[in-house]
Symmetry: C2
Subunit: 114 residues, 2 copies
DNA sequence: CTCAGTGTTCGATGGCCATCGTACAGTGCT
DNA sequence: AGCACTGTACGATGGCCATCGAACACTGAG
């Protein structure tokens, strides 16, 4: 029925951590990984909620990918929303930037990769 | 004689990497460590060349400390200069900030530690 | 209901890294 | 020369983490 009101989701929604509750060390550790940097950049190149987890092109299996998204959620970098079987993603640009000014911009700059 | 000209140092000078040659991932990995963050903060709280390696109050032995300074050098964060038996340190504020704007400021902010 | 697709969880594994103790090399002082 | 101090190099160790395969749960479609 494509019902938006009677959600009745029989699946635990993803647990999020707000950037304001994230220690600096956690944020830096989350960003200090090539796969996660790639995920963030891919995410930034598309509109919010445009990509589900399986749409990301990274050289790891589903299990590892799921793990990486968990790390990104805990670091306040990514928000997830369930829609059907898919789990849609959004980069928490403004909130994360308010907590760690400039850090996300730095990560998204293509020239610092060398 | 406390000669400044006839240095004749029989010791290999420390190898440095300029921040411009440092990939983002290297910089983030270097900063994603509690001991190194402490070293950087201690360094920032004193004038340039004021501290030798042994002066830092970090809960690790000499060997580990030496390793950490090596990592910081490779990440373009610290410059070292030999003076006698001591090895003096300087935080490469401007150069590093030119390459990764805001990253060092973020690391030095005391409130993001939580 | 069955099936294909999506994502999480679990246990196991391999590798990287922070740390330590020790030995060693310079340096300056007596 | 002898000594105390500073820092590095080396080998070993322990722990953490990224990854995988497999099993499982949920979803929407046929």
């Amino acid at each position: 029925m494509t019902d938006q009101v009677e959600g009745a989701s029989h699946r635990p929604p993803p647990v999020h951590t707000h950037p304001d509750d994230v220690p600096l060390l956690t944020a830096l550790s989350a960003l200090a990984d090539p796969v996660r940097i790639q995920l963030i950049r891919d995410l930034a190149s598309r509109p919010d909620w445009a990509l589900s987890c399986s749409n990301f092109d990274v050289p790891v299996g589903r299990a590892a990918k799921s793990h990486h998204f968990s790390v990104l959620r805990d670091a306040g970098l990514v928000e997830q929303r369930d829609q059907g079987a898919k789990r849609l993603n959004r980069l928490r640009r403004e909130e994360f930037d308010a907590r760690f000014p400039g850090l996300l911009d730095l990560t998204l700059r293509p020239d610092v990769t060398e």
